[in-house]
C-alpha cells in the first residue's frame, strides 16, 4: 500500500509545481491598464493626455484649478482674506511657511503633469501602433503641457529641476536648473508644439498650434524678446479664430469667443475659484475681498469694475469680491471652465511688446481695443514710458485674479518691491519666490531652498 502511494504523491507534487508558476500570475488589474496598453493606439494615448487635464481640474485649488489666481492674488495686491485661516494668510502676509500645503499642491501637481507628459512623449515615441503623423500631434500636445507647467513653476519658484524623463533613477536627485535652461526648454517645447499641432481643433479645451503661439508670445515677452513676442501674438490675433466678447460678463463662459485655451469641467460642475470667491449668500461675508488698493484704482465707469466685481453687504459693511467666474454651485449644465489663455491677454502682450519696440501707435491701438470693451476712453499716444505705464495699468485691471498674471507681471517689471512694499506689512524682497515645499527639500538633498525661507 505504501509503495503505491509514493508515486501518486510524486506525480501530484509534480503537477502542482508545474502549475504553481501559473497560479501566482494574477494577470492585469481589473480596473487599470498598463503602459503597453495605453500606448497601443492613438485613441488610448489621447486618453492619457485627457488624464493630465482631468488631474489638473480635479485637484481642489490646484495650480491650474483656481489655486494660482487665488494664492498669487493674495501674495500680490489683489485679494485680502476676511478669515484667519492660516494657509491663505501666509500667502497674504508674504510669509509662506515651507510646510504650507497649498504651496506643496502647486509643486506636486505641476510635476505630476510633467511626469504624464514625459510618459506620453516616451510611450508614443516607442509605440508601434500609432502613425507618424498622430505621433507628432500627441507629442506636440504633451510638450505644450510640459512647457505650460514649467512656465508656472519658473515664475513661482525660480529655476527648478528640469525633469524630462520618467526614469526616477535619474530624476530623483536632480538639482535645480537655471532659469535660462528652463526657459530654453519651454521655448523649444512650444516651438515644437506650434509646428506640429493642428491649427484648429474645433474646441478650445485642447491645445492647438495657436494656443502654443499664444503661450510662446507670453514667454517671449517675459524674456524681453519683444519682436518675437509681437510676431507670435499677431499670429493669434490675425488667425480670425478668436474675437473679444462685447460683454465682459460673457468672457469666462464656456462658449466665449475670446478663449484661446481653457480647461473644461465635467457636466454641471463649477470652478473651484468660483466656489471659493463667490459667496453662496448675498448676506454672507466673502472669504476673500478685493484688496482696497486694487478696488480704488479702477477708473470711474470701468465696465470691468461692475461686471467682474460684485458686492455683498453684511453686518453693515460692504465687501467687494471678484466675480469673473460666477458659478459656485452645481447647475444643470456646465457654464464655465478655467480660462488659461484668452485673446485680451494676447492683445496686451502685443501692446507691451510694441511699446518696448517703440511702435507706440500700434501699442496704443491694442490697449484701446481692450479699454473700449470696458467702455473707457482711449489712451493718448505719448512717450514710451507713459504708454508702458498705461499697458501695465491695463493688464492690472483686465487680468486681475487670473492665472497669476499680476504676481508674475509685478516681478518681471521689477515693480514688486515698489508696489507691494507700501501695501503689505512685513513685505520682504525674498517673498517674490515661494518656498520649495520643505518635504521636497528633505526628499532631495540636492534641492536648495529659496533665500529667505
Amino acid at each position: 500500500m505504501k509503495r503505491n502511494l509514493i508515486p501518486i504523491i510524486c506525480i501530484a507534487t509534480l503537477i502542482m509545481v508545474a502549475s504553481c508558476k501559473k497560479f501566482v500570475d494574477v494577470g492585469l488589474p481589473k480596473n487599470q491598464l498598463i503602459s503597453s496598453e495605453v500606448f497601443a493606439d492613438s485613441t488610448n494615448a489621447n486618453s492619457a493626455l485627457a488624464g493630465i487635464y482631468y488631474s489638473a481640474i480635479s485637484t481642489y485649488l490646484g495650480l491650474n484649478a483656481g489655486g494660482l489666481p487665488l494664492y498669487s492674488g493674495l501674495s500680490a495686491d489683489e485679494l485680502t482674506p476676511t478669515g484667519s485661516s492660516t494657509e491663505p494668510v501666509q500667502f497674504y502676509s508674504n510669509n509662506i511657511l515651507s510646510n504650507n500645503n497649498s504651496n506643496a499642491v502647486f509643486w506636486g501637481g505641476a510635476y505630476s503633469s510633467i511626469y504624464s507628459a514625459n510618459a506620453i512623449i516616451q510611450g508614443v515615441t516607442a509605440s508601434t501602433g500609432i502613425s507618424a503623423h498622430a505621433k507628432l500631434q500627441l507629442i506636440g500636445e504633451a510638450r505644450f503641457v510640459r512647457a505650460y507647467e514649467y512656465f508656472c513653476l519658473l515664475n513661482l519658484y525660480g529655476g527648478v529641476p528640469l525633469v524630462l524623463s520618467t526614469d526616477y533613477k535619474t530624476t530623483a536627485l536632480m538639482p535645480r536648473a537655471t532659469i535660462e535652461q528652463v526657459y530654453t526648454q519651454i521655448v523649444d517645447d512650444l516651438q515644437f508644439a506650434e509646428t506640429n499641432l493642428g491649427s484648429n481643433t474645433g474646441t478650445n479645451d485642447r491645445p492647438n498650434s495657436l494656443v502654443a503661439s499664444a503661450l510662446l508670445a507670453k514667454v517671449y515677452l517675459y524674456l524681453a524678446k519683444n519682436d518675437l513676442a509681437a510676431t507670435e501674438a499677431t499670429k493669434v490675433i490675425t488667425s480670425g479664430n478668436y474675437s473679444l466678447e462685447a460683454d465682459p460678463n460673457n468672457v469666462f463662459l464656456s462658449g466665449s469667443a475670446e478663449t484661446i485655451w481653457q480647461l473644461d469641467l465635467p457636466y454641471n460642475h463649477f470652478t473651484w475659484i468660483g466656489q471659493i470667491l463667490v459667496p453662496t449668500s448675498t448676506r454672507a461675508v466673502p472669504k476673500y475681498v478685493i484688496n482696497p488698493v486694487l478696488l480704488n484704482s479702477f477708473e470711474t465707469g470701468d465696465l470691468r469694475a461692475s461686471s467682474w466685481i460684485n458686492v455683498n453687504v453684511a453686518r453693515g459693511n460692504t465687501f467687494s469680491y471678484p466675480y469673473k467666474y460666477k458659478s459656485n454651485v452645481l447647475a444643470s449644465s456646465t457654464t464655465e471652465g478655467y480660462v488659461l489663455l484668452r485673446l485680451a491677454d494676447i492683445y496686451l502682450v502685443r501692446a507691451e511688446a510694441e511699446v518696448a519696440l517703440g511702435k507706440l501707435e500700434d501699442g496704443a491701438n491694442d490697449i484701446n481695443l481692450i479699454r473700449a470693451r470696458a467702455l473707457l476712453p482711449g489712451v493718448e499716444v505719448s512717450d514710451a514710458a507713459q504708454l508702458l505705464m498705461a499697458v501695465q495699468n491695463e493688464r492690472r485691471h483686465e487680468m486681475f485674479c487670473e492665472e497669476g498674471n499680476r504676481w508674475f507681471d509685478l516681478k518681471r517689471w521689477n515693480l514688486a518691491n515698489a508696489a507691494l512694499g507700501s501695501v503689505k506689512t512685513g513685505w520682504k524682497p525674498e517673498a517674490q519666490l515661494y518656498p520649495i515645499p520643505v518635504n521636497q527639500i528633505s526628499a532631495n538633498p540636492n534641492l536648495t531652498q529659496n533665500p529667505g525661507y
Binding site: 505504501k2 502542482m16 488624464g51 480635479s58 526616477y168 459693511n317
Partner: protein
C-alpha cells in the same frame, strides 16, 4: 505523589476476552467524562470515551499501560493487569505544562514545544467585558503589544508581535503602517486581517491633527464573538511561524473557535449587562477661569476686546455672549453613560463519532456621546465533527458569521467639541434645530466656533458582515500516515454611509447636502492538502508533515459621493443627489507554498524541529516570484537527565530551547511591478482620461527576516512554580518599501527593495505560581514582562536617501524626533529651544537639506518594558480574578494636543493649563497667552514638535477585576441546572500613573480614552 493521580482499579471475574478492555472514565466529582483520549502506551492504538465516559479498546500487547489524556485533566496512566473493566478518575489539571496548545497545522504542549507560543484561553477572554477579542490579549502575552486606538465602540485594536520590522513605506506619511501579525481563524486567514475596514472618517477614525489618533479606525475583528473562542495562540519565533512562510514574518495569531463536546446536549446561556463611562480625563476651565485666561491674552497683546468683526480685538465670546453662562461641554459631549448588553447562547453535545456546537450571540454597546449611537453585533457560530466508525475518515466543519452595525457621527470634530468656550450659547432651539446666530454672531466658525451640535446630525454608519468557514477532511491512509486537506473560505463585507444634511449646515451660505456611500469587500479562499506521517522507532518519535498551500485574496473597494440633495429625507439614497462621483479599486493576491516539517523527539529529552518552505507570491514580477525559507529548532528537557535529577532534586522541569530561521516577507501592495494607469472618474471633454499610478520598477523581490531565539524554562516544587525566560532577535533586511522620492520624479515614491536592516530584540519573562493550593482556598498568579528593543542597524547611503530626515542608524524606527525644549524665555515669554549647537533660540530649524537640523531624538516610541500580572483567587464557590497591566514608557502629554488650539484664542482649555508667563523676568513653565495668531502660534507649533510635550507615561492599570459565585452542586441538582454562575466584572477600573493627560495608553487628549466598564452577568448551563 499519588495525591494527584490515582486510580481505582476493580478486579472483576475474568472472562475469556482478555485482550479487550472496557472501562469508565469519571471526574473527581464523579461525573462521566466524555472525549478523553485512551491510548495504549508505546503503540499507535487510541480510542476516546463516548458520551457516557465509556470506552472499549482492543489491546495489542499482553502487558499494556493505558494512558488517559484530556484537555482539562492531569494525564493518568494505568497498568493493565488483566482486569476487564477499568475505572479511571481524572483530576483537574494543576499546571499549564501539558495543556494542549494549538500550533501551525497541529497541536503541542508547552513541555514539548520548541517554539515560542503563548496561549490565551477563551475563559480569560470571557472574564473581561470586551467586544473585540484582540482587546482581551492586552498584557497577557509577552512580546505582544496591544493598543486600543480609542474607547469608542467598534474602534480598532492594533497588535504587534515583537516590534516594527519594516521601514515606513511612505515617509511623506508621518506614521508607518504597523506590522501586524497574520491572523488565522480555524485554519483560514481572516479575510480582512486586522486592518481598518472603514474608508470614511468617524468618531472611531478621527485621523491625525489635534485628535492625534494615527491608526484609529473600525476593526474587522469585531466580527468574531469572544464567547465563541476556545483559545488564542500567539506564535512568535522562527520555529513556530516559519511554516507559514511569507505570511508569518510578523508573527502569527491562531484563533480557535469552540467545538462540540462529547456528551449529552448542554445549553449554555450567558447574559450580562453593564455600563461604561469615560476613563480619566482632565477637567476643563469653567467660565470664570476661561474669561480670566482670555482677558489676560488681550491684556498681553495690548488690545481691548470688542464686538467689531475683523478687528484684531474682536472677541464675541467676551462681548456678545452671555458671560454669566456656564456649560460643561465635556460633560455634555462625552459625559453620557454607555450601556452594554451581551447575550450568548450555545448548544453543544455529541456522540463518539459526531459532535456539534451551535451558538449565537448579541451584543450592544452604546456611545458616551449624545445621539442615538451604538455598535450592535449579532453572531452565529457552528461547528460539526464527524468521524467514521473505523476512525479512518474525519470531517470538521466550522463557520462563524457576524453582522455588525455601528452608528455614530461622521464628523470627528465632535471629539474636540469640548474646546467650545464655556459661555457659548445654547446649541439648539426647543424644536431641536441648530442655532446659527446669537446676538449678531454667526455660530459657524467664521467669527465664533462652529455649533458642534451640527456634528451630531452628520450621521455615519458602517455595516459589516463577516463569514469565516473551514472544512477539514482527513483520511488515515494507513496507520501512521494521514492525509488532510483544509478548504477554507473567509469573507468580510463592509458597507459604509456618511451624510452631511442641510440641517447640519448654516443655511446662510446656501449649503449643499452631501452623502458618501462605500463598500469594502474582502475575500480569501484557501486549499491546503497535507500529509502527516507519525512513527516511533525505539526511543525516537518522528512526525513528518508535508503540505501545499494555495491561497487567493481579493479586495474590492468602491465609494460613491452624492452631492446636492434638495431634501434631507433623500440623503440616504444615491440617486436623490444632483451629481455623483464614483471611484473603485480592486486587488488580487495569490500565494502558493510547499512546506514541510520534521519533528524528532528522542527519549522524551531531545527534540529537533526542521521546517522548509518554497513560497511563491503574485506580488513580484516575472522570475522573482519564488523564494526558499526555513527554520531549525531544538529543545533539551534537561530535568529528564539522571544527573540533573540527582543534583537538582528541587527542579521538577527544565528545558533549554533555541531556534533560528529565515522567513520571507512580501508585504506591500499588489500589481506594484506593473506600470499602471487608472481611468479618471469622469471624462475630460468627452475623452476618458488615464492617470499614471506608479513609477515603473519590476525588479523588487522578497524581503527576509532572520529570527534567532533562545529560551530556558524551569519548574520548581512539582511545577507549582514555572519560570520561563526568552531572548529573541529578529533582523529584517532587503526591506520592501515604498521608497520615498521627491515629487519631481512625478510621484512621491517607488516600490523597491532597500538595503536596510532593522533589528528587534528583547527579553521575555513569564512566571506562573500556584501560591496557595488548599482544598478550600487557592491563589494562582501569573506574571509576564517584556523588555523590547528596536534599532535600525544599517541603511545603505541613508544620508542621500529620501529617508535622510526620517531615520538615524542606531535609533529605533519608531523614534520621535523634535526640538530640544529649553523652557520659556523669561525676557519675552515665548517658548525657546536649543538649536543643534546647543544655543537658545525661539526659531529652531526644521529638518531639511538631508539633515535633522535642530531636531533631536525625543522619545523612542515603544515602552521600556511592559506586561501584565494575573491573579486568581478561589474560595469555596467564590472566585476573584484581578488582572493588572503595566508599561514603563514616555509619551506625548496633554500639552502636545492643547497647544494645537492656541491657548488665548476662542477655545476652552484644561484647568491644568496655567502658570503662563506674564511679565519680563518671570520664570514660567508656559508661554505668554495671546489672543492673536502671531508669534505665539508659530512658537506653539514649534513647542508641539519638541521634547517639551513628552513626559513619563508609565502606568499600572487595574485592567480587569472579575468576581463570581458558582452555585454548589447540591443546590444545582435541586433546581436541575448543571451549572450556574453569577458574576460581576469591571474593566479599566483605575490606573496608577504620573502621566499628564487623559490616558497614558492611548495618549490622546481629544478623543475617547478606554472606557471604564462595570458589568454583571449570569451564566447557566442546562
Amino acid at each position: 505523589m499519588k495525591y494527584f493521580l490515582y486510580a481505582i482499579i476493580l478486579f472483576l471475574p475474568s472472562r475469556l476476552l482478555a485482550q479487550t478492555v472496557t472501562g469508565n472514565v469519571r471526574s473527581a466529582d464523579n461525573e462521566p467524562m466524555p472525549g478523553v483520549t485512551v491510548a495504549e502506551k508505546g503503540q499507535n492504538n487510541i480510542t476516546t470515551t463516548d458520551e457516557k465516559g465509556q470506552f472499549t479498546l482492543k489491546l495489542i500487547q499482553q502487558k499494556a499501560t493505558l494512558r488517559f489524556t484530556s484537555l482539562a485533566s492531569e494525564p493518568l496512566e494505568i497498568i493493565y493487569k488483566g482486569q476487564t473493566t477499568i475505572e479511571a478518575v481524572l483530576r483537574p489539571r494543576n499546571n499549564s505544562l501539558d495543556e494542549v496548545h494549538v500550533i501551525a497545522y497541529g497541536t503541542s504542549t508547552q513541555r514539548t514545544n520548541v517554539g515560542s507560543i503563548t496561549k490565551v484561553s477563551g475563559k480569560d477572554l470571557m472574564e473581561q467585558p470586551i467586544t473585540n477579542p484582540l482587546a482581551g490579549l492586552e498584557g497577557k502575552v509577552p512580546g505582544l503589544t496591544v493598543v486600543q486606538t480609542s474607547g469608542v465602540p467598534g474602534a480598532s485594536v492594533n497588535i504587534q508581535v515583537r516590534g516594527q520590522n519594516t521601514l515606513n513605506a511612505d515617509f511623506t506619511q508621518a506614521y508607518a503602517p504597523i506590522n501586524q501579525p497574520l491572523i488565522i481563524v480555524d485554519g483560514v486567514p481572516y479575510a480582512a486581517q486586522n486592518g481598518n475596514v472603514n474608508q470614511f472618517s468617524s468618531l472611531a477614525s478621527p485621523g491625525i491633527g489635534p485628535y492625534n489618533n494615527n491608526y484609529g479606525g473600525i476593526s474587522p475583528m469585531n466580527g468574531l464573538n469572544p464567547a465563541d473562542i476556545e483559545s488564542i495562540e500567539v506564535l512568535r519565533d522562527a520555529d513556530a511561524t516559519a511554516i507559514y512562510g511569507a505570511r508569518g514574518g510578523n508573527g502569527v495569531i491562531l484563533i480557535t473557535t469552540k467545538k462540540g463536546k462529547l456528551g449529552k446536549a448542554t445549553l449554555n446561556v450567558n447574559l450580562n449587562d453593564g455600563e461604561s463611562v469615560i476613563g480619566h480625563t482632565m477637567p476643563m476651565m469653567n467660565t470664570q477661569q476661561y474669561l480670566q485666561m482670555r482677558h489676560q491674552a488681550f491684556v498681553n497683546d495690548g488690545l481691548t476686546p470688542n464686538n467689531i468683526p475683523f478687528d484684531p480685538g474682536y472677541a464675541p465670546d467676551l462681548t456678545a455672549f452671555d458671560t454669566t453662562r456656564y456649560t460643561d461641554w465635556k460633560k455634555y459631549f462625552l459625559g453620557n453613560t454607555a450601556h452594554n448588553l451581551n447575550l450568548n447562547a450555545s448548544v453543544s453535545g455529541g456522540t463518539t463519532n459526531d459532535q456539534y456546537r451551535l451558538a449565537t450571540g448579541y451584543n450592544q454597546d452604546t456611545y458616551i456621546t449624545p445621539g442615538d449611537f451604538a455598535d450592535n453585533r449579532a453572531t452565529v457560530s457552528t461547528s460539526l465533527h464527524h468521524n467514521s466508525e473505523n476512525k479512518r475518515f474525519s470531517l470538521d466543519f466550522t463557520a462563524d458569521y457576524g453582522y455588525e452595525k455601528n452608528n455614530s457621527s461622521g464628523n470627528p470634530a465632535l471629539l474636540a467639541a469640548y474646546t467650545l468656550v464655556p459661555d457659548y450659547p445654547a446649541l439648539t432651539d426647543k424644536a431641536g434645530n441648530l442655532i446659527w446666530n446669537y446676538n449678531g454672531v454667526s455660530l459657524d466658525g467664521t467669527s465664533a466656533q462652529t455649533n458642534p451640535a451640527a456634528y451630531l446630525k452628520q450621521l455615519y454608519n458602517i455595516q459589516n458582515i463577516s463569514l469565516n468557514a473551514n472544512l477539514q477532511l482527513g483520511y488515515k491512509i494507513v496507520d501512521r500516515l494521514t492525509f488532510r486537506t483544509s478548504l477554507g473560505y473567509s469573507t468580510y463585507n463592509s458597507k459604509e454611509y456618511n451624510g452631511v444634511p442641510l440641517a447640519s449646515q448654516n443655511p446662510e451660505f446656501s449649503p449643499q447636502a452631501a452623502a458618501s456611500f462605500g463598500n469594502n469587500d474582502f475575500m480569501t479562499w484557501l486549499v491546503e492538502p497535507q500529509l502527516e506521517y507519525k512513527a516511533s522507532i525505539k526511543k525516537a518519535d518522528f512526525d513528518v508533515l508535508v503540505g501545499n498551500t494555495l491561497e487567493k485574496q481579493t479586495n474590492a473597494l468602491s465609494a460613491v459621493q452624492g452631492i446636492g440633495y434638495s431634501n434631507d429625507d433623500l440623503i440616504q439614497s444615491i440617486s436623490g443627489s444632483a451629481s455623483q462621483i464614483a471611484s473603485d479599486q480592486y486587488s488580487l493576491y495569490k500565494y502558493i507554498a510547499f512546506f514541510g516539517r520534521l519533528n524528532i523527539k528522542y527519549d522524551n529529552k531531545y527534540i529537533v524541529s526542521l521546517t522548509g518552505n518554497h513560497d511563491g507570491s503574485s506580488r513580484f514580477g516575472p522570475s522573482r516570484q519564488f523564494g526558499n525559507f526555513g527554520s531549525v529548532g531544538g529543545a533539551w528537557l534537561f530535568n529528564e537527565e539522571k544527573l540533573i535529577r540527582k543534583t537538582l532534586p528541587f527542579l521538577s522541569y527544565g528545558k533549554l530551547r533555541g531556534s533560528y530561521g529565515s522567513i520571507g516577507n512580501d508585504n506591500g501592495g499588489n500589481y506594484q511591478f506593473l506600470p499602471r494607469w487608472a481611468p479618471s472618474t469622469t471624462a475630460y471633454g468627452g475623452v476618458p482620461g488615464y492617470i499614471p499610478q506608479n513609477l515603473y520598477n519590476p525588479d523588487f523581490t522578497w524581503a527576509s527576516t532572520k529570527k534567532l531565539e533562545f529560551g530556558i524554562e524551569l519548574g520548581f516544587l512539582k511545577d507549582r512554580v514555572l519560570i520561563s525566560s526568552t531572548w529573541y532577535r529578529s533582523r529584517t533586511g532587503n526591506q520592501l518599501v515604498t521608497y520615498s522620492l521627491p515629487t519631481q520624479t512625478g510621484f512621491g515614491s517607488v516600490f523597491q527593495n532597500e538595503n536596510a536592516l532593522v533589528q528587534n530584540s528583547g527579553w521575555e519573562f513569564v512566571l506562573h505560581a500556584a501560591i496557595i493550593k488548599k482544598e478550600q482556598f487557592s491563589w494562582n498568579s501569573s506574571f509576564n514582562m517584556t523588555i523590547p528593543s528596536n534599532k535600525l542597524l544599517a541603511f545603505a547611503n541613508l544620508a542621500n536617501s529620501s529617508y535622510s530626515e526620517t531615520y538615524q542608524i542606531g535609533k529605533p524606527l519608531t523614534e520621535v524626533y523634535g526640538f530640544r525644549y529649553a523652557g520659556v524665555n523669561p525676557t519675552d515669554g515665548y517658548f525657546q529651544f536649543y538649536d543643534a549647537n546647543g544655543q537658545l533660540t525661539e526659531n529652531p530649524v526644521l529638518p531639511q537639506g538631508g539633515s535633522f537640523q535642530d531636531f533631536v531624538p525625543v522619545s523612542k516610541g515603544y515602552p521600556d518594558f511592559y506586561g501584565g500580572w494575573q491573579n486568581n483567587f478561589k474560595y469555596g464557590q467564590f472566585q476573584l480574578d484581578v488582572f493588572l497591566q503595566y508599561a514603563k514608557q514616555t509619551g506625548m502629554n496633554y500639552l502636545g494636543s492643547v497647544y494645537s488650539f492656541l491657548p488665548g484664542l476662542q477655545y476652552n482649555q484644561p484647568v491644568a493649563l496655567q502658570d503662563e508667563w506674564k511679565s519680563p523676568g518671570q520664570t514660567a513653565p508656559l508661554q505668554v497667552l495671546s489672543s492673536q495668531q502671531g508669534q505665539a502660534l508659530s512658537s506653539a507649533q514649534n513647542f508641539i514638535q519638541s521634547s517639551g510635550v513628552y513626559s513619563d507615561a508609565s502606568y499600572v492599570r487595574v485592567k480587569t477585576i472579575a468576581f463570581s459565585y458558582t452555585l454548589p452542586s447540591g443546590l444545582l441538582k435541586k433546581i436541575q441546572v448543571q451549572n450556574l454562575r453569577i458574576y460581576i466584572s469591571a474593566q479599566n477600573l483605575f490606573t496608577i500613573t504620573r502621566y499628564r493627560g487623559n490616558d497614558p495608553e492611548t495618549q490622546i487628549f481629544y478623543g475617547v480614552p478606554p472606557l471604564k466598564t462595570v458589568s454583571c452577568g449570569i451564566q447557566t448551563t442546562f
